[in-house]
Structure formats: C-alpha cells, structure tokens
Symmetry: D2
Subunit: 121 residues, 4 copies
C-alpha cells in the first residue's frame, strides 16, 4: 500500500521545488542572498494589490484581483520554502517555536486589544 | 483510529494562529492591508542578516545569526499563513498550482541555466 | 562671488556620503546589490511605524514616533542617494523626467479621483 | 531678475508633486500609510533588476536595464518626497542630521572596513 504525501506538507513541497530547480540548473542562482531578494519582490507584488485600498475594501477584493492575489501568495510561499531549505530550517517547527516565544512576550491578559510592542506592554 | 494532522500541516498552524489572535482580540488589526505590511516588515528583518554579506558568506552564517534567521523565517511564515487565512486561500494548494504554471512558463530545456524572464526566453 | 550649494541639493549630499563611506572604507560593501537591500530594509523600518494604525491615525503620529519616522525617512534618502551615485543616475533630473512620463500615462481628466493603473484607464 | 528654482532642489520637486496630485484629486489616496506601501513597492521593482545578478554584474548593468533602473530610482524618489511632504519632514535637513548621528555611532577609526552594527563595534 502506498501513501501519497499529505497534500498540506511543506516537506513534500520542499522536495518538489528542489526538483524544479535541479531540472533547470537554477541552484547556482538560489543562494540565500538572492532568494531573500526574490521573496521580498514577491511580497511587494502582493502588496501592490492593497496599496491604494481602504482597509475595508482590501478585505473584500474583486474576483479578478483574488485570482492574482492567490498566485502572489503562492509565489511568496514558494520562495520562503526554497529559502528555508537552503538554510536548513524546518519552517513549520520553527513557526510553532515562534508562537511559543510570542505567547511569553505577549501574554493574553496584557496584550488584549493592543498592538504595542512587547517592550511597551 | 485517529490521525494527527501532519506535523508540518499549514491547516493546523492556521488554526493555532486564529486562536492566538482571538485570545488577544487582535482580529480587528489583522485585516489584509495591515497583514501584508507586517509580512513585508518581517521579510526585511530577515533580509537585514544578508545585506552586507558576499553571496558565499550568506550561505554559511555564524551560529548566532542562524538562530535569529530561523526566528525571522518563522515570523514570515506566521504572517503569510495568517494573511492567506484572511483571504481564504489554501496556501499549499495554491503553491502546487503555481508550480504547474511556472513549469509551462519555464520549460526545462529553454530555462536551463538562465534567470531571464519567461517573456525573454 | 561665491554660491553655496542650495541647502536641499542632492548633489552636495551625494558628496557628503561619498566622503563618509571613504573615511570608513565602506566602498567595497556599497555595491548596488547590497545598497538596494539596505534601502529596502530602511523602508521596512519606516513602514513598521504605520502597519497597525488606521489610515487616519497614520497621518497624525504621536511626537515620539514622529522623531523616529523622521530618522527613518532620512535613512531611506541616504541609501537612495548613495545607490543613485553608484549607478550614475542624477536623481532629481530622473524624477522630473518620470513626472513627465506619468503625466502622459495619467492625463488629469482621465485619472481624476481614480488609482487604477494607466493600462486600465 | 528672476531665479529659477535650483534644478536639484527637493523643495521645488515637492511642489511639483503637490500640483500633480491636486490636478488628479489623488490627495485622498496619498495618506502616509498608502504612500509607504507605494514606496515599498517601487523599491521592490528596483530590486527586481538586481536579484539574480552576481554583485559584480549588478554594478555594470546592460543599457536597457539602466534606463529602467533610472525610472525605478525616480519612482522611489517621488514617493519618498511625497511621503515626507505629508509628514512635514524636510528630507535633506533630516538627511544631514542623520549623517551626524551616524558619525557618532560609527567613528571612522572603529568602523573602518567593517559593517558590524554600532552596538557591536
């Protein structure tokens, strides 16, 4: 019996991206310095959809924008996964570790309803 | 028999972040416009570690930087997951869809060893 | 008779920054690739002040934020001037040239009250 | 006798941009929150030209890229000037003030040949 990789797994996505880059000889370009720049560029392409909108409209995009925004979110994910791979970071584990740190820095009773920095709570 | 979500599931992480925000009444701040700004700020905090390094050194960070870089990668992931949640985008599926689009735009035999845009291949 | 450079001259600022870098042997670090990363990081430090604020509050910052925002704006200017110097671009002339291009892309009667892209006007 | 504004003056450029926005009724969109997003997007469009290049090639762009890079530098300047105007900051003065702060944080004899943060010198 065979198991497909869980559809939601970043480990499987990491491997897919390794193969994609290998087939195109792109590894020489994919150093962390270049990848963090590419990541930043993709975030800006995402941001462009929101820059002139009031906050309320930004939460309710027209359908054409939605499809583009989905692609831009995907691009951000792909470069983030690729960068984490090159830096030997297991992203989701790092994410949960960071949530725990944030829970200590921002205890619910102190941080409630405020976006002040933890140093100012 | 019970299945745990895969430990690297973004669906599970999405729920953890919803709870984290709810406990702190942060939903009012977490509109897409604000979240894309926060995402951009976290990418810049990641970038700061690489800005003055030669590409080779950027691939081989000292241990102290590595721990910070891991935290910054995590922050990028957390805001990306949170933003995708608010925009109703299933990130990993969107990622695989984008890989397929990229495979058409960048056929391996044409794109090999080059970072030119697909419009210039 | 002698003329001082206008106090808001970018040409004079460019020379001040050249001297600052030369005194510290920083030219080897100040290649365009590194400088555009530094510029991006400074813009994010500026953005951080606005990310959680409603648009109205963002236009009326408390005094403590104002002093920091002024410093961040200055940092953005300094890296922008330094980068333009390395790329042999005369910034203010380039700025006026771009305004003229924009005036053709966004004629006042068509663009009035809208932030749509010129391709969609 | 008449004096033209110095061609290099940001004060004159600030006024030109005010008029440009007023003629198009764009002031309602040009709040600091939106403008800092637009500034960030323009920096990314500039960064895109450098992301895959080795540092040496980034310092010696082909002519076609050079013209585009000049336009992107101009866009960054225009949004920076517009944002500073909305925040009542005199950019060049703020720039010189920041250079003085930096000179104290990075004394030439300590900072020579190093990009370490001033807190680590």
């Amino acid at each position: 019996m065979d198991f497909a990789p869980p559809p939601d797994s970043l480990a499987a996505l990491t491997i897919a991206l390794r193969e994609f880059a290998a087939e195109r000889d792109w590894d020489a370009f994919h150093n962390p310095k270049n990848l963090v720049m590419a990541l930043s560029v993709e975030v800006a392409e995402l941001m462009e959809h929101f820059q002139w909108l009031p906050a309320a409209a930004a939460a309710d995009l027209p359908a054409a924008s939605k499809a583009q925004v989905r692609d831009e979110l995907a691009d951000v994910l792909l470069y983030l996964v690729r960068l984490a791979d090159k830096l030997d970071v297991e992203l989701v584990t790092a994410g949960y570790d960071k949530i725990q740190k944030n829970a200590l820095k921002y205890p619910a009773d102190k941080a409630r309803g405020s976006m002040r920095k933890y140093t100012e709570l």
